[in-house]
Subunit: 253 residues, 2 copies
Amino acid sequence: MSENPEIRVIGLTGLPEITRDSDLVGLILEAARRQDLRLSNGDVLVFTHKIISKAEGRLVRLSEITPSPLARAFARDGNRDPRSVEIVLGEARRIVKMDRGILITETHHGLVCAHAGVDASNVPDPDAVALLPADPDRSAADLRASIRERADVDVAVIISDTFGRPWREGLTNVAIGVDGMAPLLDYRGQHDPQGRALLATVIAVADELAGAAELVMGKLDRVPVALIRGYSYRSDGGKGADLIRQADKDLFR
Amino acid sequence: MSENPEIRVIGLTGLPEITRDSDLVGLILEAARRQDLRLSNGDVLVFTHKIISKAEGRLVRLSEITPSPLARAFARDGNRDPRSVEIVLGEARRIVKMDRGILITETHHGLVCAHAGVDASNVPDPDAVALLPADPDRSAADLRASIRERADVDVAVIISDTFGRPWREGLTNVAIGVDGMAPLLDYRGQHDPQGRALLATVIAVADELAGAAELVMGKLDRVPVALIRGYSYRSDGGKGADLIRQADKDLFR
């Protein structure tokens, strides 16, 4: 780390509504230029999953869904749209909790979150909801490759979503897709300034970067992408999927 | 949010080892000046809990501890120091998990974390471990008041620790003490650009700020304080304790 460590977190503004026809990378590069930010090697770009889902056409029309009896029963108790519940069930591989109108599932990606990440907010079509990207790590890799090709810079890409967590109030942004950087920083085997081993210290830096990005994104503004400059990540591989703890290793369960 | 939202996260460097005799606020103001950073109204200062614990004398000597049979049994199975285990048990009001050498407790503050936040890293005395501050919110309030008095600026103060979490790999920094800002940003009742209500969206911004600070702090460097500039927090009260979810409201349990 440098003597005067500083990170800048900058929201990219003025992006239009993203659709399947959008040139997302072109729009990002243009937005950066408008803000006098030339993308540089070592920058981190954090994308809210929603615009990735839109760009990938991961929208589902409620009017095309026939809810199952299970979805209808839960929707009735929780005062929800049964078609939306059906979509959530379709994205899940395990139900973690189904109670008081809240549906927490493990998605087919292995992510544990409310409503399987299915979300209607910031979707223009009132008949549509957005699913999570099918493979956020692949989405991140594709974006990174495209940025490298078109702007000749090597950046890291994070795709984020906003998740709740046990024991603590409020949601935080986490990284669901990562490419170009190690999402976990492993201090095990290293020593503090006093020479003591740092035990069990693995930091989920990609989640911290996603959280930092949320601070400039907000929820109401059209700031779906943040540029993080000055963070020296390790470029030695790793994916967002590495942040998902395997059940048999999860001491908190 | 401004048209060109940008947050700077700057590590304060060159601080000496903090002890009970240290003038912590004076040292922080001096470090900021050395880095040409004049503290300003609206800045956020994030302190790792460890230097607060040191400044408050929250160190315990292992040689003065007599471990209980429970502490000895667990220490034997987990290859740990039974005196350190005894200290952890003394800081706990509930054992969440005691297995495979890992001890997850709910502390007397209500925080759920490994080893009740008891930690030997970065403590110079090999016979001592650091406890969490007794009341991190009060510590934050005292620091903020002192900074206001001595530098005539109104900042927000966050005291952070690095916690694990269920379902996800790695630890992230979270806020255990907060003063001068709302730790939770509540979007409920507000609408997205399409006019849809944003349901259930409360963001734990203090945790995201703590996480952003960790990115400049690292674990091996002497960067125990970060200055965050450009984040428009709400100053309408709230404490770190607000981030602790009450058990009966915790849908993930």
